[in-house]
Amino acid sequence: MALLNIQHLKVYYPVRGGFFRRVVDHVRAVDDVSFSLNKGETYGLVGESGCGKTTTGRTIIGLIRATAGEVLFEGTDLTKLRRREFHPYRKDIQMIFQDPYSSLNPRKRVLDIVAEPLRNFERLSPHEERQKVQYVLERVGLSAESIYKYPHEFSGGQRQRIGIARALTLNPKLIIADEPVSALDVSVQAQVLNFMKEIQQEYGLTYLFISHDLGIIRHMCDRIGIMYRGRLVEEGTSEEIFTNPQHIYTKRLLSAIPNADPRERGRQEALRREVEKEYEQSYSRYFDENGRAHPLKPISPTHSVAIP
Protein backbone atom coordinates (compact mmCIF):
# COMPACT_ATOMS: atom_id res chain seq x y z
CA MET A 1 0.00 0.00 0.00
CA ALA A 2 1.16 3.51 -0.75
CA LEU A 3 2.50 5.51 2.20
CA LEU A 4 1.11 8.75 0.88
CA ASN A 5 -1.71 9.03 -1.62
CA ILE A 6 -2.76 12.37 -2.98
CA GLN A 7 -6.13 12.48 -4.69
CA HIS A 8 -7.35 15.43 -6.76
CA LEU A 9 -5.60 17.99 -4.58
CA LYS A 10 -6.62 21.56 -5.30
CA VAL A 11 -5.36 24.77 -3.75
CA TYR A 12 -7.14 27.85 -5.09
CA TYR A 13 -6.62 31.42 -4.01
CA PRO A 14 -9.48 33.85 -4.57
CA VAL A 15 -8.87 36.91 -6.72
CA ARG A 16 -11.02 39.74 -5.39
CA GLY A 17 -12.12 42.79 -7.27
CA GLY A 18 -15.02 44.97 -8.30
CA PHE A 19 -17.72 46.05 -5.91
CA PHE A 20 -17.57 44.76 -2.31
CA ARG A 21 -14.38 42.87 -3.13
CA ARG A 22 -16.27 39.98 -4.61
CA VAL A 23 -14.39 36.87 -5.67
CA VAL A 24 -14.04 37.36 -9.41
CA ASP A 25 -11.62 34.54 -10.19
CA HIS A 26 -9.27 32.03 -8.65
CA VAL A 27 -5.55 31.52 -8.91
CA ARG A 28 -5.20 27.80 -9.39
CA ALA A 29 -1.92 27.23 -7.56
CA VAL A 30 -2.48 23.48 -7.44
CA ASP A 31 -5.15 22.26 -9.82
CA ASP A 32 -6.29 18.67 -9.47
CA VAL A 33 -3.03 16.87 -8.74
CA SER A 34 -2.97 13.16 -7.89
CA PHE A 35 0.03 10.97 -7.20
CA SER A 36 1.20 8.46 -4.64
CA LEU A 37 4.42 7.66 -2.83
CA ASN A 38 5.48 4.15 -1.92
CA LYS A 39 7.43 3.42 1.21
CA GLY A 40 11.17 3.90 0.83
CA GLU A 41 11.12 5.59 -2.56
CA THR A 42 12.02 9.11 -3.61
CA TYR A 43 9.41 10.95 -5.63
CA GLY A 44 10.60 14.02 -7.47
CA LEU A 45 8.32 16.96 -8.14
CA VAL A 46 9.79 19.11 -10.91
CA GLY A 47 8.68 22.27 -12.62
CA GLU A 48 9.43 25.91 -13.24
CA SER A 49 9.13 28.42 -10.42
CA GLY A 50 5.52 29.23 -9.63
CA CYS A 51 4.15 25.95 -10.97
CA GLY A 52 2.80 24.91 -7.56
CA LYS A 53 5.31 22.30 -6.48
CA THR A 54 6.16 24.04 -3.19
CA THR A 55 2.47 24.70 -2.54
CA THR A 56 1.80 21.00 -3.00
CA GLY A 57 4.49 20.11 -0.45
CA ARG A 58 3.30 22.68 2.06
CA THR A 59 -0.29 21.53 1.69
CA ILE A 60 0.67 17.93 2.42
CA ILE A 61 2.33 18.93 5.68
CA GLY A 62 -0.58 21.18 6.63
CA LEU A 63 0.99 24.62 6.33
CA ILE A 64 -1.51 25.53 3.62
CA ARG A 65 -5.15 24.51 3.62
CA ALA A 66 -6.30 22.45 0.68
CA THR A 67 -9.32 23.81 -1.19
CA ALA A 68 -10.39 20.34 -2.23
CA GLY A 69 -9.00 16.85 -2.57
CA GLU A 70 -7.50 14.30 -0.22
CA VAL A 71 -4.08 13.72 1.25
CA LEU A 72 -4.16 10.14 2.46
CA PHE A 73 -1.30 9.28 4.78
CA GLU A 74 -1.40 5.58 5.64
CA GLY A 75 -5.12 5.73 4.85
CA THR A 76 -6.00 8.81 6.94
CA ASP A 77 -7.10 11.96 5.16
CA LEU A 78 -4.93 14.69 6.63
CA THR A 79 -6.91 17.56 5.08
CA LYS A 80 -10.03 16.67 7.08
CA LEU A 81 -8.28 16.54 10.45
CA ARG A 82 -8.62 19.19 13.11
CA ARG A 83 -5.41 20.71 14.41
CA ARG A 84 -5.31 18.56 17.52
CA GLU A 85 -5.98 15.39 15.55
CA PHE A 86 -3.19 16.32 13.16
CA HIS A 87 -0.67 16.47 16.02
CA PRO A 88 0.34 12.77 16.08
CA TYR A 89 0.97 12.83 12.31
CA ARG A 90 3.40 15.74 12.63
CA LYS A 91 5.81 13.23 14.04
CA ASP A 92 5.67 11.11 10.89
CA ILE A 93 5.90 13.88 8.30
CA GLN A 94 8.72 16.36 8.46
CA MET A 95 9.99 19.02 6.15
CA ILE A 96 13.39 20.27 5.03
CA PHE A 97 13.16 23.90 4.01
CA GLN A 98 14.63 25.60 1.00
CA ASP A 99 16.44 28.48 2.67
CA PRO A 100 18.80 27.39 5.46
CA TYR A 101 19.19 31.05 6.46
CA SER A 102 15.59 31.86 7.30
CA SER A 103 14.55 28.40 8.44
CA LEU A 104 16.69 28.54 11.59
CA ASN A 105 15.73 31.07 14.25
CA PRO A 106 18.77 33.38 14.59
CA ARG A 107 18.14 33.84 18.31
CA LYS A 108 18.23 30.17 19.23
CA ARG A 109 21.15 27.90 19.95
CA VAL A 110 21.49 24.76 17.87
CA LEU A 111 20.53 22.72 20.92
CA ASP A 112 17.20 24.54 21.20
CA ILE A 113 16.58 24.35 17.45
CA VAL A 114 17.16 20.62 17.15
CA ALA A 115 15.50 19.78 20.47
CA GLU A 116 12.30 21.68 19.60
CA PRO A 117 10.46 18.63 18.19
CA LEU A 118 11.67 16.49 21.11
CA ARG A 119 10.22 18.96 23.60
CA ASN A 120 6.88 18.80 21.81
CA PHE A 121 6.59 15.05 21.54
CA GLU A 122 8.81 13.38 24.11
CA ARG A 123 9.41 13.95 27.77
CA LEU A 124 13.16 13.72 28.20
CA SER A 125 15.45 14.92 30.97
CA PRO A 126 17.80 17.73 29.87
CA HIS A 127 20.66 15.25 29.89
CA GLU A 128 18.90 12.69 27.66
CA GLU A 129 17.76 15.47 25.41
CA ARG A 130 21.30 16.80 24.97
CA GLN A 131 22.59 13.30 24.26
CA LYS A 132 19.96 12.71 21.62
CA VAL A 133 20.62 16.07 19.97
CA GLN A 134 24.36 15.37 19.95
CA TYR A 135 23.74 11.96 18.45
CA VAL A 136 21.65 13.40 15.60
CA LEU A 137 24.12 16.19 14.99
CA GLU A 138 26.96 13.70 14.76
CA ARG A 139 24.84 11.70 12.34
CA VAL A 140 24.61 14.72 10.04
CA GLY A 141 28.35 15.33 10.36
CA LEU A 142 28.48 18.18 12.86
CA SER A 143 30.61 18.10 15.96
CA ALA A 144 28.95 17.54 19.32
CA GLU A 145 30.11 20.86 20.76
CA SER A 146 28.23 22.81 18.11
CA ILE A 147 25.05 22.51 20.20
CA TYR A 148 25.97 25.69 22.07
CA LYS A 149 26.56 27.73 18.92
CA TYR A 150 24.16 29.99 17.09
CA PRO A 151 23.09 29.46 13.45
CA HIS A 152 25.09 32.42 12.13
CA GLU A 153 28.30 30.69 13.18
CA PHE A 154 27.76 28.00 10.54
CA SER A 155 28.12 27.93 6.78
CA GLY A 156 25.15 27.41 4.48
CA GLY A 157 25.82 23.68 4.07
CA GLN A 158 26.19 23.19 7.81
CA ARG A 159 22.98 25.12 8.42
CA GLN A 160 21.11 22.89 6.01
CA ARG A 161 22.49 19.89 7.91
CA ILE A 162 21.08 21.39 11.11
CA GLY A 163 17.74 21.66 9.32
CA ILE A 164 18.00 18.01 8.30
CA ALA A 165 18.98 17.00 11.83
CA ARG A 166 15.91 18.78 13.15
CA ALA A 167 13.69 16.91 10.70
CA LEU A 168 15.31 13.60 11.68
CA THR A 169 15.04 13.78 15.49
CA LEU A 170 11.55 12.30 15.57
CA ASN A 171 12.34 9.42 13.17
CA PRO A 172 9.73 10.46 10.61
CA LYS A 173 8.40 8.19 7.87
CA LEU A 174 8.08 10.86 5.20
CA ILE A 175 10.31 13.84 4.60
CA ILE A 176 9.24 16.62 2.27
CA ALA A 177 12.39 18.21 0.93
CA ASP A 178 11.53 21.56 -0.58
CA GLU A 179 14.49 22.45 -2.82
CA PRO A 180 16.85 21.42 -0.02
CA VAL A 181 20.03 22.32 -1.88
CA SER A 182 19.09 25.17 -4.20
CA ALA A 183 20.49 27.75 -1.78
CA LEU A 184 23.85 25.95 -1.53
CA ASP A 185 26.85 26.01 -3.82
CA VAL A 186 27.49 23.05 -6.05
CA SER A 187 30.21 21.25 -4.07
CA VAL A 188 28.09 21.41 -0.93
CA GLN A 189 25.01 20.30 -2.87
CA ALA A 190 26.56 16.94 -3.66
CA GLN A 191 27.63 16.51 -0.05
CA VAL A 192 24.14 17.18 1.31
CA LEU A 193 22.42 15.05 -1.37
CA ASN A 194 24.63 12.04 -0.80
CA PHE A 195 24.08 12.39 2.88
CA MET A 196 20.31 12.44 2.33
CA LYS A 197 20.61 9.24 0.32
CA GLU A 198 22.62 7.60 3.10
CA ILE A 199 20.09 8.37 5.81
CA GLN A 200 17.31 7.26 3.52
CA GLN A 201 18.80 3.80 3.38
CA GLU A 202 19.59 3.77 7.06
CA TYR A 203 16.15 4.84 8.30
CA GLY A 204 14.02 3.61 5.38
CA LEU A 205 12.79 7.14 4.72
CA THR A 206 10.43 8.19 1.97
CA TYR A 207 11.22 11.50 0.29
CA LEU A 208 9.04 13.89 -1.60
CA PHE A 209 11.78 15.77 -3.36
CA ILE A 210 10.80 19.16 -4.76
CA SER A 211 13.26 20.78 -7.13
CA HIS A 212 13.68 22.60 -10.39
CA ASP A 213 17.14 21.17 -11.01
CA LEU A 214 16.80 18.18 -13.31
CA GLY A 215 20.36 16.98 -12.70
CA ILE A 216 19.66 16.63 -8.99
CA ILE A 217 16.29 15.01 -9.64
CA ARG A 218 17.91 12.42 -11.88
CA HIS A 219 20.52 11.70 -9.23
CA MET A 220 18.02 11.38 -6.39
CA CYS A 221 14.64 10.19 -7.57
CA ASP A 222 13.05 6.84 -8.40
CA ARG A 223 9.92 8.38 -9.85
CA ILE A 224 9.25 11.85 -11.18
CA GLY A 225 6.21 14.06 -11.66
CA ILE A 226 6.49 17.07 -13.94
CA MET A 227 4.31 20.01 -12.92
CA TYR A 228 3.23 22.91 -15.11
CA ARG A 229 0.83 25.67 -14.04
CA GLY A 230 -0.51 23.72 -11.09
CA ARG A 231 -1.07 20.48 -13.00
CA LEU A 232 0.90 17.32 -13.51
CA VAL A 233 1.79 16.96 -17.18
CA GLU A 234 3.84 13.80 -17.05
CA GLU A 235 4.63 11.15 -14.50
CA GLY A 236 6.92 8.17 -14.71
CA THR A 237 10.07 6.50 -13.49
CA SER A 238 13.26 8.49 -13.69
CA GLU A 239 14.40 6.34 -16.61
CA GLU A 240 11.20 6.88 -18.60
CA ILE A 241 11.12 10.61 -18.13
CA PHE A 242 14.73 11.17 -19.11
CA THR A 243 14.95 8.77 -22.04
CA ASN A 244 11.42 8.84 -23.37
CA PRO A 245 9.75 12.19 -22.61
CA GLN A 246 6.27 12.41 -24.14
CA HIS A 247 4.83 15.76 -23.16
CA ILE A 248 6.11 18.86 -24.93
CA TYR A 249 6.77 20.65 -21.62
CA THR A 250 8.94 17.78 -20.41
CA LYS A 251 10.85 17.88 -23.68
CA ARG A 252 11.42 21.59 -23.31
CA LEU A 253 12.64 21.16 -19.74
CA LEU A 254 15.03 18.39 -20.74
CA SER A 255 16.37 20.28 -23.74
CA ALA A 256 17.18 23.17 -21.40
CA ILE A 257 19.65 21.11 -19.35
CA PRO A 258 23.05 22.68 -20.09
CA ASN A 259 25.69 20.42 -21.55
CA ALA A 260 29.20 20.95 -20.25
CA ASP A 261 30.87 19.43 -23.32
CA PRO A 262 31.69 22.16 -25.88
CA ARG A 263 31.80 19.65 -28.75
CA GLU A 264 28.16 18.82 -28.09
CA ARG A 265 27.13 22.45 -28.23
CA GLY A 266 25.95 22.38 -31.84
CA ARG A 267 23.86 19.29 -31.31
CA GLN A 268 22.33 20.66 -28.14
CA GLU A 269 21.33 23.82 -29.95
CA ALA A 270 19.78 21.91 -32.81
CA LEU A 271 17.80 19.83 -30.32
CA ARG A 272 16.58 22.94 -28.56
CA ARG A 273 15.47 24.50 -31.85
CA GLU A 274 13.66 21.36 -32.82
CA VAL A 275 11.80 21.18 -29.51
CA GLU A 276 10.92 24.86 -29.74
CA LYS A 277 9.48 24.34 -33.19
CA GLU A 278 7.46 21.37 -32.04
CA TYR A 279 6.20 23.42 -29.12
CA GLU A 280 4.97 26.19 -31.38
CA GLN A 281 3.34 23.82 -33.83
CA SER A 282 1.68 21.42 -31.44
CA TYR A 283 0.80 23.68 -28.49
CA SER A 284 -2.91 23.17 -29.05
CA ARG A 285 -2.46 19.42 -29.01
CA TYR A 286 -1.05 19.47 -25.46
CA PHE A 287 -3.12 22.24 -23.89
CA ASP A 288 -6.85 22.95 -24.05
CA GLU A 289 -8.35 26.30 -25.05
CA ASN A 290 -7.73 27.79 -21.57
CA GLY A 291 -4.07 26.85 -21.64
CA ARG A 292 -4.59 24.09 -19.06
CA ALA A 293 -2.95 20.73 -19.42
CA HIS A 294 -5.16 17.70 -20.06
CA PRO A 295 -5.71 15.01 -17.40
CA LEU A 296 -3.00 12.33 -17.16
CA LYS A 297 -3.42 9.23 -19.33
CA PRO A 298 -1.36 6.09 -18.74
CA ILE A 299 0.74 4.98 -21.71
CA SER A 300 2.47 2.19 -19.80
CA PRO A 301 1.92 0.80 -16.25
CA THR A 302 4.29 3.36 -14.75
CA HIS A 303 4.29 6.15 -17.30
CA SER A 304 1.43 8.60 -17.81
CA VAL A 305 1.18 11.76 -19.88
CA ALA A 306 -1.28 14.63 -20.16
CA ILE A 307 -2.54 14.19 -23.70
CA PRO A 308 -6.13 14.34 -24.90
Binding site: R58, I61, G62, L63, H87, R90, K91, I93, Q94, M95, F97, Q98, D99, S102, S103, L104, N105, P106, R107, K108, E116, P117, N120, F121, Q134, S143, A144, E145, I147, Y148, K149, Y150, H152, E153, G163, R166
Partner: protein, 302 residues
Protein backbone atom coordinates in the same frame (compact mmCIF):
# COMPACT_ATOMS: atom_id res chain seq x y z
CA UNK B 1 33.26 41.26 14.79
CA UNK B 2 36.45 39.51 15.77
CA UNK B 3 37.21 36.11 14.41
CA UNK B 4 36.87 33.37 16.94
CA UNK B 5 39.79 31.03 17.00
CA UNK B 6 39.31 28.16 19.32
CA UNK B 7 40.39 24.60 19.42
CA UNK B 8 38.06 21.74 20.23
CA UNK B 9 36.53 22.47 23.58
CA UNK B 10 34.97 19.99 25.96
CA UNK B 11 31.20 20.03 25.73
CA UNK B 12 29.54 22.18 28.34
CA UNK B 13 32.67 24.11 29.21
CA UNK B 14 33.51 27.44 27.64
CA UNK B 15 30.14 28.23 26.15
CA UNK B 16 30.96 30.66 23.37
CA UNK B 17 27.94 32.85 22.87
CA UNK B 18 27.28 35.26 20.08
CA UNK B 19 26.84 38.85 21.32
CA UNK B 20 23.39 39.16 22.79
CA UNK B 21 21.10 42.02 21.87
CA UNK B 22 21.78 43.55 25.27
CA UNK B 23 25.54 43.54 24.90
CA UNK B 24 25.32 45.05 21.40
CA UNK B 25 23.16 47.85 22.78
CA UNK B 26 25.47 48.40 25.71
CA UNK B 27 28.48 48.59 23.37
CA UNK B 28 26.70 51.09 21.14
CA UNK B 29 25.79 53.34 24.07
CA UNK B 30 29.38 53.24 25.39
CA UNK B 31 30.82 54.05 21.96
CA UNK B 32 28.61 57.10 21.61
CA UNK B 33 30.00 59.85 23.93
CA UNK B 34 26.72 61.76 23.92
CA UNK B 35 24.68 58.71 24.83
CA UNK B 36 27.13 57.64 27.53
CA UNK B 37 27.12 61.15 29.00
CA UNK B 38 23.33 61.18 28.86
CA UNK B 39 23.15 57.83 30.59
CA UNK B 40 25.43 59.03 33.40
CA UNK B 41 23.57 62.34 33.83
CA UNK B 42 20.19 60.60 33.79
CA UNK B 43 21.42 58.01 36.28
CA UNK B 44 22.67 60.70 38.66
CA UNK B 45 19.49 62.76 38.29
CA UNK B 46 17.23 59.80 38.98
CA UNK B 47 19.37 58.70 41.92
CA UNK B 48 19.09 62.19 43.44
CA UNK B 49 15.37 62.50 42.73
CA UNK B 50 14.39 59.10 44.11
CA UNK B 51 16.96 59.26 46.92
CA UNK B 52 16.11 62.73 48.21
CA UNK B 53 12.35 62.22 47.87
CA UNK B 54 12.62 59.49 50.50
CA UNK B 55 13.59 62.11 53.08
CA UNK B 56 10.98 64.67 52.06
CA UNK B 57 7.54 64.89 53.58
CA UNK B 58 4.97 65.65 50.88
CA UNK B 59 2.38 66.87 53.41
CA UNK B 60 4.90 69.33 54.79
CA UNK B 61 5.88 70.61 51.37
CA UNK B 62 2.41 71.26 50.00
CA UNK B 63 1.37 73.05 53.18
CA UNK B 64 0.59 76.71 52.48
CA UNK B 65 2.71 79.25 54.39
CA UNK B 66 1.51 82.84 53.97
CA UNK B 67 4.52 84.33 55.70
CA UNK B 68 6.95 83.35 52.93
CA UNK B 69 5.11 83.91 49.64
CA UNK B 70 7.46 84.14 46.64
CA UNK B 71 10.57 84.31 48.75
CA UNK B 72 13.68 84.09 46.57
CA UNK B 73 16.23 81.27 46.98
CA UNK B 74 17.80 81.21 50.42
CA UNK B 75 19.47 78.80 52.80
CA UNK B 76 16.10 77.71 54.15
CA UNK B 77 14.36 77.38 50.76
CA UNK B 78 17.06 76.39 48.25
CA UNK B 79 14.95 77.32 45.26
CA UNK B 80 12.66 79.81 46.93
CA UNK B 81 8.90 79.41 47.35
CA UNK B 82 5.80 79.73 45.13
CA UNK B 83 2.64 81.79 45.56
CA UNK B 84 1.52 79.62 48.46
CA UNK B 85 4.85 79.87 50.24
CA UNK B 86 5.61 76.23 49.40
CA UNK B 87 9.19 75.08 49.00
CA UNK B 88 9.99 74.85 45.28
CA UNK B 89 12.95 72.50 45.72
CA UNK B 90 10.83 69.97 47.55
CA UNK B 91 8.12 70.24 44.91
CA UNK B 92 10.73 69.88 42.20
CA UNK B 93 12.10 66.63 43.65
CA UNK B 94 8.72 65.06 44.37
CA UNK B 95 7.33 66.42 41.11
CA UNK B 96 10.20 64.91 39.13
CA UNK B 97 9.66 61.61 40.90
CA UNK B 98 5.96 61.66 40.10
CA UNK B 99 6.50 62.71 36.48
CA UNK B 100 9.13 60.08 35.83
CA UNK B 101 7.15 57.35 37.58
CA UNK B 102 4.10 58.25 35.54
CA UNK B 103 6.09 58.28 32.29
CA UNK B 104 7.70 54.93 33.09
CA UNK B 105 4.43 53.31 34.18
CA UNK B 106 2.59 54.51 31.07
CA UNK B 107 5.42 53.26 28.88
CA UNK B 108 5.46 49.83 30.52
CA UNK B 109 1.69 49.37 30.59
CA UNK B 110 1.19 50.53 26.98
CA UNK B 111 4.19 48.43 25.98
CA UNK B 112 2.69 45.32 27.54
CA UNK B 113 -0.77 45.84 26.07
CA UNK B 114 0.58 46.85 22.66
CA UNK B 115 2.93 43.89 22.59
CA UNK B 116 0.25 41.34 23.44
CA UNK B 117 -2.32 42.71 21.02
CA UNK B 118 0.18 43.45 18.24
CA UNK B 119 1.65 39.95 18.43
CA UNK B 120 -1.78 38.30 18.36
CA UNK B 121 -3.01 40.45 15.46
CA UNK B 122 0.18 40.01 13.43
CA UNK B 123 0.63 36.30 14.04
CA UNK B 124 -2.89 35.07 13.45
CA UNK B 125 -3.85 37.58 10.76
CA UNK B 126 -7.18 37.08 9.00
CA UNK B 127 -10.33 38.19 10.76
CA UNK B 128 -8.63 38.44 14.17
CA UNK B 129 -6.23 40.99 12.70
CA UNK B 130 -9.09 42.78 10.98
CA UNK B 131 -11.17 43.12 14.14
CA UNK B 132 -8.23 44.30 16.23
CA UNK B 133 -7.07 46.81 13.66
CA UNK B 134 -10.54 48.29 13.27
CA UNK B 135 -10.78 48.70 17.06
CA UNK B 136 -7.40 50.45 17.01
CA UNK B 137 -8.49 52.70 14.15
CA UNK B 138 -11.58 53.58 16.18
CA UNK B 139 -9.52 54.54 19.22
CA UNK B 140 -7.17 56.58 17.06
CA UNK B 141 -9.94 58.73 15.58
CA UNK B 142 -11.26 59.65 19.04
CA UNK B 143 -10.20 63.15 20.12
CA UNK B 144 -7.61 62.11 22.69
CA UNK B 145 -7.20 65.40 24.55
CA UNK B 146 -10.92 66.05 24.87
CA UNK B 147 -11.61 62.56 26.22
CA UNK B 148 -8.80 62.85 28.73
CA UNK B 149 -10.31 66.12 29.95
CA UNK B 150 -13.73 64.47 30.27
CA UNK B 151 -12.27 61.53 32.17
CA UNK B 152 -10.39 63.87 34.48
CA UNK B 153 -13.65 65.61 35.24
CA UNK B 154 -15.70 62.48 35.98
CA UNK B 155 -13.15 60.35 37.86
CA UNK B 156 -14.02 60.79 41.55
CA UNK B 157 -10.60 60.12 43.11
CA UNK B 158 -8.06 61.65 40.80
CA UNK B 159 -4.46 60.75 41.58
CA UNK B 160 -1.29 59.37 40.00
CA UNK B 161 -2.76 55.88 39.52
CA UNK B 162 -5.93 56.98 37.74
CA UNK B 163 -3.90 59.35 35.58
CA UNK B 164 -1.65 56.46 34.50
CA UNK B 165 -4.65 54.25 33.68
CA UNK B 166 -6.44 56.94 31.67
CA UNK B 167 -3.36 57.68 29.58
CA UNK B 168 -2.55 54.01 29.04
CA UNK B 169 -6.05 53.34 27.77
CA UNK B 170 -5.34 55.55 24.77
CA UNK B 171 -1.62 55.30 24.13
CA UNK B 172 -1.22 51.53 23.52
CA UNK B 173 -2.53 51.71 19.95
CA UNK B 174 0.65 53.03 18.34
CA UNK B 175 2.73 50.26 19.86
CA UNK B 176 0.24 47.59 18.89
CA UNK B 177 0.49 48.79 15.28
CA UNK B 178 4.27 48.78 15.29
CA UNK B 179 4.52 45.31 16.81
CA UNK B 180 1.85 43.96 14.45
CA UNK B 181 3.77 45.22 11.42
CA UNK B 182 7.00 43.58 12.61
CA UNK B 183 5.21 40.35 13.48
CA UNK B 184 3.63 40.22 10.03
CA UNK B 185 7.09 40.35 8.48
CA UNK B 186 8.54 37.85 10.93
CA UNK B 187 5.83 35.19 10.63
CA UNK B 188 6.50 34.81 6.90
CA UNK B 189 10.00 33.52 7.63
CA UNK B 190 10.61 29.81 7.34
CA UNK B 191 11.60 29.28 10.96
CA UNK B 192 7.98 29.96 11.93
CA UNK B 193 6.76 27.42 9.35
CA UNK B 194 9.39 25.01 10.63
CA UNK B 195 8.14 25.39 14.20
CA UNK B 196 4.61 24.71 13.00
CA UNK B 197 5.63 21.53 11.20
CA UNK B 198 7.52 20.44 14.33
CA UNK B 199 4.26 20.55 16.28
CA UNK B 200 4.99 23.60 18.44
CA UNK B 201 1.76 25.24 19.65
CA UNK B 202 1.03 28.79 18.46
CA UNK B 203 1.46 30.50 21.82
CA UNK B 204 4.89 28.96 22.18
CA UNK B 205 5.88 30.10 18.68
CA UNK B 206 4.74 33.63 19.50
CA UNK B 207 6.51 33.89 22.85
CA UNK B 208 9.65 31.85 22.33
CA UNK B 209 10.32 32.15 18.60
CA UNK B 210 9.00 35.50 17.35
CA UNK B 211 9.26 37.67 20.47
CA UNK B 212 13.06 37.32 20.90
CA UNK B 213 13.49 38.53 17.32
CA UNK B 214 11.48 41.66 18.09
CA UNK B 215 13.29 42.49 21.34
CA UNK B 216 15.60 45.16 19.96
CA UNK B 217 12.83 47.09 18.23
CA UNK B 218 10.75 46.92 21.42
CA UNK B 219 13.53 48.28 23.62
CA UNK B 220 14.22 51.14 21.21
CA UNK B 221 10.58 52.07 20.90
CA UNK B 222 9.98 51.97 24.65
CA UNK B 223 12.99 54.18 25.35
CA UNK B 224 11.99 56.82 22.85
CA UNK B 225 8.41 56.67 24.12
CA UNK B 226 9.51 57.20 27.71
CA UNK B 227 10.70 60.73 26.87
CA UNK B 228 7.41 61.49 25.13
CA UNK B 229 5.32 60.17 28.01
CA UNK B 230 7.12 62.34 30.58
CA UNK B 231 6.31 65.24 28.30
CA UNK B 232 2.64 64.24 28.05
CA UNK B 233 2.17 64.41 31.81
CA UNK B 234 3.87 67.80 32.02
CA UNK B 235 1.93 69.14 29.08
CA UNK B 236 -1.48 68.09 30.42
CA UNK B 237 -0.71 69.39 33.88
CA UNK B 238 0.39 72.65 32.34
CA UNK B 239 -2.98 72.90 30.60
CA UNK B 240 -4.65 72.30 33.94
CA UNK B 241 -5.95 68.80 33.27
CA UNK B 242 -3.13 66.89 34.84
CA UNK B 243 -2.58 66.15 38.48
CA UNK B 244 -4.17 68.27 41.22
CA UNK B 245 -1.98 70.81 42.97
CA UNK B 246 -1.81 68.66 46.08
CA UNK B 247 0.31 66.25 44.07
CA UNK B 248 3.42 68.11 42.96
CA UNK B 249 4.58 67.52 39.42
CA UNK B 250 6.91 69.19 36.97
CA UNK B 251 3.98 70.36 34.89
CA UNK B 252 2.43 72.14 37.91
CA UNK B 253 5.62 74.08 38.50
CA UNK B 254 5.95 75.05 34.85
CA UNK B 255 2.29 76.13 34.68
CA UNK B 256 2.95 78.79 37.36
CA UNK B 257 4.73 80.63 34.53
CA UNK B 258 1.34 81.46 32.99
CA UNK B 259 1.36 84.33 35.45
CA UNK B 260 3.36 87.10 33.69
CA UNK B 261 4.76 88.37 36.95
CA UNK B 262 6.15 84.94 37.81
CA UNK B 263 7.49 84.50 34.30
CA UNK B 264 9.33 87.82 34.35
CA UNK B 265 10.46 88.33 37.94
CA UNK B 266 10.30 85.02 39.78
CA UNK B 267 12.39 82.68 37.68
CA UNK B 268 13.11 80.31 40.55
CA UNK B 269 9.56 78.99 40.44
CA UNK B 270 9.48 77.67 36.87
CA UNK B 271 13.02 77.63 35.49
CA UNK B 272 14.40 74.62 37.46
CA UNK B 273 11.43 72.46 36.50
CA UNK B 274 11.68 73.47 32.84
CA UNK B 275 15.40 72.73 32.77
CA UNK B 276 14.87 69.37 34.47
CA UNK B 277 12.26 68.37 31.87
CA UNK B 278 14.55 69.49 29.06
CA UNK B 279 17.57 67.63 30.39
CA UNK B 280 15.65 64.42 31.14
CA UNK B 281 13.98 64.30 27.73
CA UNK B 282 17.20 65.08 25.88
CA UNK B 283 19.12 62.41 27.83
CA UNK B 284 16.51 59.76 27.19
CA UNK B 285 16.33 60.71 23.53
CA UNK B 286 20.11 60.54 23.07
CA UNK B 287 20.18 57.09 24.68
CA UNK B 288 17.24 56.07 22.53
CA UNK B 289 19.02 57.16 19.37
CA UNK B 290 22.06 55.07 20.28
CA UNK B 291 19.83 52.04 20.93
CA UNK B 292 18.09 52.65 17.63
CA UNK B 293 21.42 52.50 15.83
CA UNK B 294 22.27 49.30 17.70
CA UNK B 295 19.10 47.70 16.38
CA UNK B 296 20.19 48.32 12.80
CA UNK B 297 23.56 46.78 12.01
CA UNK B 298 24.27 49.18 9.14
CA UNK B 299 24.16 52.26 11.35
CA UNK B 300 26.25 50.96 14.23
CA UNK B 301 29.32 52.86 15.33
CA UNK B 302 31.14 49.86 16.82
Amino acid sequence: MKAEISGPTPVGANIEKSPSAFSIMWREVVRDRLALGSLIILGILLAIVYGVSLFLDQEEIVKVDFLSIYSPPSAEHWLGTDYGGRDVFGQLIIGARNSFTIGLAITLITGLIGLTIGLIAGYFGGWIDNVIMRVIDFILVLPFLMLVIVFVAIVPKYNVLTFILIMSAFLWTGKARLIRAKTLAERELDYVSASKTLGTPDWKIIIFQILPNLSSIIIVNLTLNLAGNIGIESGLTYLGFGLPESTPSLGTLVSYATNPDVLQNKWWVWLPASLLILVMMLCINFIGQALKRAADARQRLG
